[in-house]
């Protein structure tokens, strides 16, 4: 799929929302790192499930129950195949990536004691910070941080100098791809160091799985979290992948229906993974929708998606570099970088606040995100309060990037003239 090809037009035709207008302008959607749009195939799969096969899973013994169970477990198989899991039982469905990360923090944290260390990074999304802060508070363990270099990459040298990963380290957690900087982190290298001291490695792959070919084994992690709604799927469905032997050794997270083996008044025993971690009626239709999203991405080809985004990112970096007043955060080239591009904009000496920028772009039908993008520690580290983020996906075009760059020049001049 090349940027201007018929294949791109065919993809866009599957996303009816892209044909609508916003504020009397054609929609330019550059906020897929926030949530992606859904192709008709995904919406149809969800509708078809509700209209034809709806029933509860695993406990309804009638025909519809069997169909719903097959659809739900079928979605698990598709997701497993998509990320290279050794078996479908390694895929735990949650409601989102945050829940997956909380599940990881709760179950891994059961044995943590004061003096133990948890390591995360300053570039994480709040969802991969707060669960570990809470765990540190509960257990008395210490939370430590990877810093970043000037060009927005993990500072591995500083980490080595500080002996960040050491014999006290029990858990190391990091994003595969930064949701702000677009940096692709060397997860396997970090994981090797962590495993060298016996620590467990958790990777937040929310910004990776939608955009890059994924092989959980190659990431080097023991647990990997991601979410459906950023990869063309519905909201309300997330995934935790885990090495089966690790999952089998972890205690339950939430208690309730379907996660049990036998419940007695004196105590209960628990189902094996993945059901041990799926208490209550799960997001069934959402899982079916995620399965359809995975099939859609496989149909286009995730390598083709990555190649398309690589070209768009290259073009976007080039256009933004050429726009006076724009300062791109993080990697300045496409090397180990995805198409989540955050930046600041100034008119002369005056920094234009991302909300003001976002507002005027929205008036031109351009959807970007302004704020701290749920990564306040990173913004503090960069010495700024907020930034604006444009992010691309398989349906974006060079024309989208042109409208963004033209829009930024317009906003800069609008405030530059008047302030």
């Amino acid at each position: 799929m090349t940027a201007q090809s018929d294949a791109l037009a065919a993809v866009r035709a599957d996303f009816p929302i892209l044909a609508r207008e916003v504020n009397s302008e054609p929609l330019t959607y550059l906020d897929s790192a926030n949530t992606s749009h859904k192709p008709r195939q995904v919406v149809d799969a969800v509708a078809e499930h509700y209209l034809r096969h709806n029933a509860n899973v695993a406990r309804a013994m009638h025909t519809l129950g069997a169909e719903a169970t097959a659809a739900f477990e079928g979605a698990r198989e598709k997701v497993a195949r998509f990320v290279g899991a050794a078996q479908p039982a390694e895929i735990v469905f949650t409601k989102n990536a945050s829940e997956a990360l909380n599940l990881a923090a709760h179950t891994l944290g059961a044995g943590l004691r004061p003096g133990d260390e948890i390591v995360t990074t300053v570039m994480e999304h709040h969802s991969n910070i707060v669960p570990w802060q809470l765990l540190a508070e509960r257990s008395g363990a210490t939370l430590r941080w990877f810093d970043i270099t000037a060009d927005g990459r993990l500072d591995l040298e500083k980490a080595r100098a500080e002996n960040l990963i050491n014999e006290r380290t029990k858990i190391v957690t990091l994003a595969w791809v930064s949701n702000v900087l677009g940096t692709v982190n060397p997860t396997a290298e970090v994981a090797a160091a962590a495993h060298g001291v016996g620590a467990t490695v958790v990777v937040d792959a929310s910004q990776g799985v939608p955009h890059l070919p994924t092989d959980v084994a190659a990431l080097g992690a023991d647990l990997v979290a991601f979410t459906g709604h950023k990869m063309l799927g519905p909201t309300g469905i997330g995934v935790l992948w885990g090495r089966y032997d690790l999952l089998a050794a972890l205690p339950p997270f939430l208690g309730g229906g379907e996660m049990i083996e036998v419940v007695r008044m004196a105590g209960s025993t628990y189902a094996p993974p993945p059901h041990r971690f799926e208490a209550g009626t799960p997001p069934i239709a959402q899982a079916v929708g995620l399965g359809a999203a995975v099939e859609y991405l496989e149909g286009v080809g995730i390598a083709a998606v990555a190649a398309h985004e690589h070209l768009l990112t290259e073009y976007a970096l080039q256009r933004l570099h050429a726009t006076a007043g724009v300062q791109i955060l993080g990697p300045q080239t496409t090397q180990d970088r995805t198409g989540a591009i955050s930046f600041t904009l100034a008119a002369g000496d005056l920094e234009i606040h991302p909300h003001d920028l976002m507002q005027l772009l929205d008036g031109r039908g351009i959807a970007v995100r302004g704020g701290h993008h749920c990564a306040r520690p990173l913004h503090e580290r960069l010495g700024i309060q907020a930034s604006t983020r444009a992010s691309v996906y398989l349906y974006n075009t060079r024309a989208d990037i042109d409208r963004l760059a033209d829009g930024l020049a317009y906003v800069r001049d609008f405030f530059g003239r008047r302030l």
């Binding site: 909300h355 507002q359 701290h372 008047r418 302030l419």
Partner: protein
């Protein structure tokens, strides 16, 4: 409505040159308010003098709407009785929830603050405009409750 219309000249004037900006002494109470969805922040001090708002000073970081609103707010409430200032705060809150339907009496009472009427048409930005006002109300209420308004006038007191 165009997004451009949001940025009335009055708003940009206040944004360019904020009135009463910078933390000052004496004060009876200081508060910190944030807008957690976007990270806008304000630290605001209030000093009262026998039921009158003697001074409002603040340090704010954020978008033009939140900064200009704090500037206009401080102009409006300084020198008014606390009761009158709270009345203005209520009116401004009403204006923010009017969806842009301007009531004639607001123009007399809210003066420059009616320039924010456009914000009322952008629900995501209403919180920006209200940040300074809610910080003022919180600080003034705390000052009243703690009784520091007259008793410790002139003595800094962390609220």
């Amino acid at each position: 409505m165009n997004a451009e219309d949001l940025y009335q000249e009055i708003i940009l004037d206040h944004y360019r040159a904020k009135h009463h900006s910078g933390l000052r002494e004496p004060y009876a109470c200081q508060v910190s308010h944030v807008n957690p969805t976007c990270g806008d922040e304000i630290e605001l001090r209030v000093n009262l003098d026998g039921g009158v708002v003697a001074d409002v000073s603040y340090l704010a970081r954020g978008c033009s709407i939140s900064q200009a609103s704090a500037s206009v707010m401080s102009d409006l409430v300084i020198g008014k009785t606390v009761e009158a200032a709270f009345g203005l705060s209520d009116e401004f809150t009403e204006l923010m929830h009017s969806r842009g339907d301007l009531q004639p009496q607001w123009e007399d009472e809210l003066e420059d603050a009616v320039a924010f009427i456009g914000v009322a048409k952008f629900p995501a930005r209403v919180k920006c405009a209200l940040l300074g006002w809610s910080a003022f109300k919180d600080a003034a209420l705390q000052a009243l409750e703690s009784g520091t308004a007259t008793a410790t006038k002139g003595v800094p007191h962390a609220g």
